[in-house]
Each structure stands twice: as C-alpha cells, then as structure tokens.
Amino acid sequence: MAEPWEYIHTKTVLNKYGLPAGAFDPEAPGEQTYDIYWMNIRTKQGTPSRSHEPEATLRISAKNEGEDRHLGIICSDLKFDNTTEIDAQCENNALTSPKTWTLKYSNGSQAGKGLVEYTQKGEIRNSRLLMDGKEPAHSKTLGPYTADWCLFDAVQRLSARKDTTKHTFDLIEEFSMIRENQYLIYRGTSEITTDQSAVTADVYCHYGESVIPTCYYVDANGRLFLVVSTRRTVILKREAS
C-alpha cells in the first residue's frame, strides 16, 4: 500500500526540494521555513498547482525561555496576500501546549484596508480557552491539548525522545477554536526516496474531529521536513539557528 508521501503531487515537490541532511537539534533555538503546496484538483494527474509554485509559507521559530517554550509563527498566504502572525508562550511539554498567545491578521486587499485587520489575545486559564477574555460558544474544560502549528514543534521533540506513545488531546485549531477527540500516533518508520537520495523517517499521524489525517515525517536528527494531509503538502525550505 502506498504511503501518503507517495502521493503524486507530494513526490513532485519532494524531488524539487530534495531531502534534508546534516545535524539538527530540535531543542536548540532556531527557525524553520516551510513552503505549502496544494494539489491541483483540476488536473487528472493530481500534480501541484499549475505554476508549481508554493501557495503559502510557514515560518516557525522556537526557543526555550526559562521553563517555557516560545514559538513565533508566521503563515503567509502568497496567492491572497494575507498573513497570520502568532506569538505563543507554551508549556515545555510533549505537545508544546500553548498557554498565552497573540494572533495578528492582515490582508492586502485594497477594499479591505483598515477594515479586516485585527489582533486577538488568547490564553488558557484554568484549563479553559479565552479569546480576548471571552470563552467561545463551544467551550469545554481542556484535557491535554495543543494547537495545530505547535504540533510542528512537538513531533520533532517526540521523535528525538523516541516517544512512540499514543497522545490523545484537544486541539486549539488555528489558535481559535476547540476540537475534541484528537490523537497522535507513531506509525513507525518509512523509507522516503527521491530521484537523488533517501532517508528513513519517523512517521507520526494526527487524527480527530475536523482533521484530515495528517502525517508528519521526521528525519533521524529530529528534523520535521514533510507534512502531508491528502492534498496539502508542507515541505521544509530552510532552517536557521
């Protein structure tokens, strides 16, 4: 049975970017930049977008701050000229659970100028999600939890720690809404090959309410270099420390 990284559009992107190599320390301060591709549903072959250019970029910087973990996240949608920036103070735990954060949204639309931008403060207080001090309509007392972009940091550290246990949690999707009944499992290793090289990757898969199964591929150095969820392919572009 084919693995998700073997989707035609994902393989095309993998061959374009190549596989990562060299040392990496997921606990060290650093920044990773990913390009995001969408499979073009209008072609029979299921290739990436017609231009074969990324649709969005994701930049995640991470560092330990005292007992906490700090993440800076910038997701820019290249085609639509909108950006979401998140500055999050997180627990230094298995799931990099965010404790407090600021979310800023901006959009380059001329007609929307001054009309669509906003900033929102989020926090988890007494295991409850608060957005600008208010609970969302669908709220609950959280168990273990994390946010979608925090999983990018978490899987690297799980792999480095050889953590293969099943994690069940609540998801703060987009740092804005609660999704219940989530779980992350270790799916073993997968040999990933491109036209030029090969790596053995740890594979973690995320399932749950509103989640299209998402597979995270982490190399032997604990570096997340590929995330695949059906038509979305997120691929490591570069890293800086």
Binding site: M1, A2, P4, E6, Y7, I8, I36, W38, M39, N40, I41, R42, K44, Q45, G46, E55, A56, D77, K79, F80, D81, N82, T84, Y105, N107, S109, A111, G112, G114, L115, V116, E117, Y118, M131, D132, K134, P136, A137, H138, E173, E174, S176, M177, R179, I185, R187, C205, Y207, E209, S210, V211, I212, P213, T230, R231, R232
Partner: protein, 421 residues
Amino acid sequence: MEQRPNILLITTDQHSAEALGHLGCNDVKTPSMDRLAARGISFAKSYSANPVCCPARASWFTGRHTPENGVVTNGANMVPSMPDLGQWLNKNGYNAYYSGKWHIPGRDVAQSFHYICRDPRNTAETGDIASTRSAIGFLQNYKEKDPFFLSVGLLNPHDICSFVLTHTMHDGEMPFPEIDDLPPLPPNFEIDMAEPEKIRSSRNQKMADRGEESGMEKWEEKLYRYYIWTYYRYIEKVDGQIGLIIDALENSAFKDNTVVILTSDHGDGHLRHKMVFKSFLYDEAARVPFIMSWPGHISEQVIDQEHLVSGVDVFPTVCDYAGISPPPRMRGYSLRAIAEGKNPDWRDFVVAHATGGGKMLRTNTHKLITYEGDPVLQLFDMEADPWETRNLAESSNSRALTSEMQASLTAFESEFELAEV
C-alpha cells in the same frame, strides 16, 4: 422609519443537507450550524437551483434560474445586463461587501461588491481561514452609518473533490487502517433502476479504470466509507469557520440587528447512488442547508419540513429584509414571512436544472427528473422512498402524476426569458 438590519450571508460549497447534526446525521459534528438553526429556522426541503458551483451561485445573486441568467454550467457567463445582489444593494442604501469564493463567470465581483478577501479558488483550508478572518476583522471594524450586507463565501467541504484523484494510487485500499469509526455505506449505495444516460455515464466514468482516472470500481468497501468519513471531516472544518464568524458577530456591535442566512451551492454524492461530486439531481447533490437566524424577529428552534425552498429565494429574501423592491421577474420568493412564523401562500413545487439538460420538479411528496432528449424519466415518492431507489415513472399507477408534473415543469419554464447562449 425602522432601522434596516445588517445582513450576513454565509455560504459553503458542496454541503449536502443530509450532513447536518440537527437534521439527524450522527456521523458529523456541526455544532455551529446547529446553533444557528437553534436560534432560527432551518429549511429541510431546500434545493439548489442548479447543483454545481457557478450556476448555483449565479442563481443566488440574480434570483433567476440558470436558463435565464446564462450560467447554465460551470464556465458559462452571466448575462451582462442582469443586475446582481451586490449592485442592487449598493444602489439602495446598503454597503455590500464580499469575502471569499465568488465563482460567477462574466461578472467581476469587485465591480459589484467591496471585495475584502479574494476568492480562494480551490484551496479551501487556507482560503477559508482568510475569508473567515477577514469577516471577523470586518465585524470588529465596520463603522459606516449605512447598514451592511456581508457575503462570506466559504469553500469547504469542496476539498473532497481531491479525494478520488489522490487515492488513485492506493489501488483501492484504505490508506489509514487506524481509523475505526468509518460510517456505513448508505442504503442506496447499490441501486438497480432506470436512470437517464447522463447519470449513468457520469457514474461509469468515475468507476472505470482509465489509467490516470480513479477506477473507483476497484475500491474496497472501506475506501468508499473513508470517502464519506473524509467528507464529514471537511464539513466539520467549515463548521468551525462558521462558528468563528457567529462568535465574532455576537461579540460585535451588530449582534442584535443582523439577519444571518446560511446556505450551500450544492451537495456531494458521498456514495449515495454510488455517486461522488455534484451536477445531478438526486437529493444528495441537490438538497442543501438553508438556515435563517435573527433572534427576536425570526422564529427559533424551527425545523421546517413543509416549505419548498430554492436558491433563487436568496435575492428576494435579502431585499425584503433590506426594505427594498427586488428587480422585476424574480423567480424566487421572500422567505421572511415563513421565517417569522406566518403562513403565506407558498409554491407547490420547486424547479432545478442540471448540466447536460437535466431538470427537476419537486413537490412536497414527489420528485420528477428529466433530461432533454433522454426517454428515461424518473419519478420518486419522496415520502415512501426518501433514498430515491424506486423509479415509479413507468408504473401504471404513476403515469398520470408523471404527465401532470411534466406539464407543470413546461408551464413553469414557459415564463422564462431565456439567455442568449
């Protein structure tokens, strides 16, 4: 003069009415749409005017059926002289804004609305986040004196369109055996009845093994069920975006003076009648959510099983709440009186069209489907056979009803001012 309300129109893409928690589906969680329905009215017999993207959307924004507005199929242009809802509202004292998916060829959305967030085309996940966040920002920042009309065009669960192609490579195997809550196949998965050739050929094309195409006939049962499971996850995704918009409205200055309308352009086969995608007239593709809410004005906690609703009703309904007359020759009707608990005279049937010459006439009890030039007609008793599995058109008991419904369809269409193709 009574203050005119703001109007928020939220649309999704490819969402079957069946796939709503409050309409009885237990395999999908739609708390946000259910909340909206609980604070308003949900029409269970709501039909797309033409169940594929461009035509359905053109019908919302013109109040006319597709043979009249010109958008008879995806890619066909809208009649240039026909006013759209954005133009009409901007001309009549409203500020009309648009965020997200538009997809009406021949009409530049930026000429009709203040266009605050671009059409995500086919990238629903990131596109819907941008459309939603732009709407949230708008609800926080809008300061104009005139009331607004804000249309938010969300794209999911349309991402299901990628499923078949993506899974071509799996040789029909279910790729995620860890998932243990796959929904069952529907009772009408396997059917044996007379169908128009257009429907048969559409299904056969997807089922056939054509190399780069899907070869769905080879799928194991679990992969079919995984398609349905995935479809529901995409619906949950867009339900979350709707929740964020509703939360933003309720935390805004417009909480008490905004009418909310929610609908979808069309549904998805999700293996009912062994079909995927849209462009046909069985209920899974043609029947869509239609919810209205304005606490204190619109009746609450109502699931309306009685009134037949069409996508062409959006335009006159919005005009009714805006206190303006719609353009002439609207084919739809305002839902306001029904939504506010009154009992107006109402249509006896609703008509829809489909790519390839398909036509549907739905009464409160029966549905007729015809295709131009195809001798096979379909008649279903929607009360006794809601899964549309027994074609009664040729049974001697039903011939008179079939003829009567055909005559009603012909008479209805005789009023049309057909667009020049």
